[in-house]
Amino acid sequence: MNVYLIAMDSWYIVEKLILIGALIGLSFFIAMYTTLAERKIAGWMQDRLGPNRAGPFGIFQPLADGGKLFFKEEITPVSSNRFLFLLGPALAMIVALITSTVIPWGAAYVGETRTVALQVADVDMGILIVFGIVSVGVYGIMIGGWASNNKFSLIAAIRGASQMVSYELPMGLSLIAVLFMTGSLKMSAMVEYQMQHGWNVLYQPLGFLIFFVCALAECNRTPFDLPEAENELNFGYHQEYSSMKLGFYLFAEYINMFVSSAVMATLFFGGYDIPFFDESAWQGSALVLSTLTFAVMMAKVSFFLFLFIWIRWTIPRFRYDQLMNLGWKKLIPLALINMLISAALLLFLNK
């Protein structure tokens, strides 16, 4: 009996280790190809073709870009703080990778002897962990900007910090309305709730809109890319960075995009739920169902990634006062009203 349990546990660890490895690989893969998609879509929207020389349709372009970054000379400014200078991009990358652990990527594979959940950790406070780790992400920017010992970088770091703090508030408030409905912080429970009751975006369109705008701000994406404002701050917090340290910052941004797309898909668009189809009625093999649900999840994520890119190549950057006005004077009141109305409605309907 005991031997069986130990065997069970070691398998459990192996299974989780494989999942973690797959997740990191997936994050890097998606981030790489988001850079290609970004450049391609930017090209199309500007009546160009985009990169198409490295391999068919330019599919090896990210490899070429990554290789270039690896072989570039690494420069550390003389008067920078060396330890913090290294910590900045490392922190940005680590934080970006950690968040994906609590997201359910597909329906659990139910085998004859064991069930394998496509989720590294199904913790009770799932979404709070995402929030907690994402807010650590701002330290990557702040430390990097500070350690560079450069005024532009410092201004950018401060901007980034204030922007993140300002936009986490409406993000959390819009999330509360969702939590009223699902009644759980657990990511898997949220997906199950949406499978039964329909996607949250149908009941919380305003909440989703606020959440989406805040996600843009949290990822430092246009129109909220003030920390790396190319034309006014010379690339801001990563101005002094070169080689793979710069690559880590840029990659972390794309991984953040990927993870926040996954979070939005999970919270508002039913996660891995296949639309107009009841998963519990599935008769075929469990492996196919897991693969299908994973594919659906990736389709939703891809849609959000496209939305991110689409917005980036449409609108210019906000001015700093516009950013703050939008955050504090528009989004927070809207999110509060949304929260109050949904609370009142839920109370009324439950009676």
Binding site: I41, W44, M45, D47, R48, L49, I311, K330
Partner: protein
């Protein structure tokens, strides 16, 4: 004062609350970019596809030959005089007996050089030439690693032989069909 009928006055009234969340205008902008995604692309895939030059394009110089393949140039030096950038140098020589198949007239250019770094491709040499011996083709001067590579000698400038290298000759002529036999052959 109204300068044009199409002038629009700028609306400087403060944004209404709905305008100040920017949403509607952002959606309008996104519709525009989405439309552009499916429009015809302006890109020309350079090495494979090339834009055709205009008929009056003034590119790299060519020293012309007549139908029998004899060099037109008589080294009169009018092109060098006309050249505002002073890019052309030449040395004249006298045709010996037995060289009639090489040069059309008694005098020819033994040395003929154009410095492409000095040249401004104005085409005045072509206009000055009384013998239809030089014209500007529809190609550009290719890049080079050294300055001396841009000083084109006579060998590089001469058009391919019209009889022995017919294809290359026609290609080098391009859209320019020089007016043949305006100068009687002596």
């Amino acid at each position: 004062m109204q300068l044009t009928q199409r002038a629009k006055s700028v609306d400087r009234s403060p944004l209404t609350w709905l305008e100040s969340i920017y949403l509607w205008n952002i959606l309008k902008g996104m519709a525009i970019t989405l439309r552009h995604m499916f429009m015809k692309k302006a890109t020309i895939q350079y090495p494979e596809q090339q834009r055709s030059f205009s008929k009056v394009f003034r590119g790299l110089h060519v020293l012309n030959r007549d139908e029998a393949g004899r060099e037109n140039c008589t080294a009169c030096g009018l092109c060098a005089v006309a050249c505002p950038a002073e890019a052309i140098t030449m040395e004249a020589a006298e045709r010996q007996t037995g060289e009639e198949h090489l040069y059309r007239e008694e005098k020819y250019a033994a040395k003929y050089e154009i410095n492409m770094l000095r040249c401004i491709f104005c085409g005045l040499c072509e206009e000055a030439c009384p013998k239809d011996a030089i014209y500007l083709s529809q190609t550009v001067a290719p890049a080079n690693y050294a300055r001396k590579g841009f000083i084109y000698s006579k060998n590089e400038l001469l058009i391919p032989h019209p009889i022995t290298e017919r294809e290359a000759y026609v290609k080098a002529l391009g859209d320019r069909q020089p007016a043949h036999s305006t100068n009687p052959v002596k």
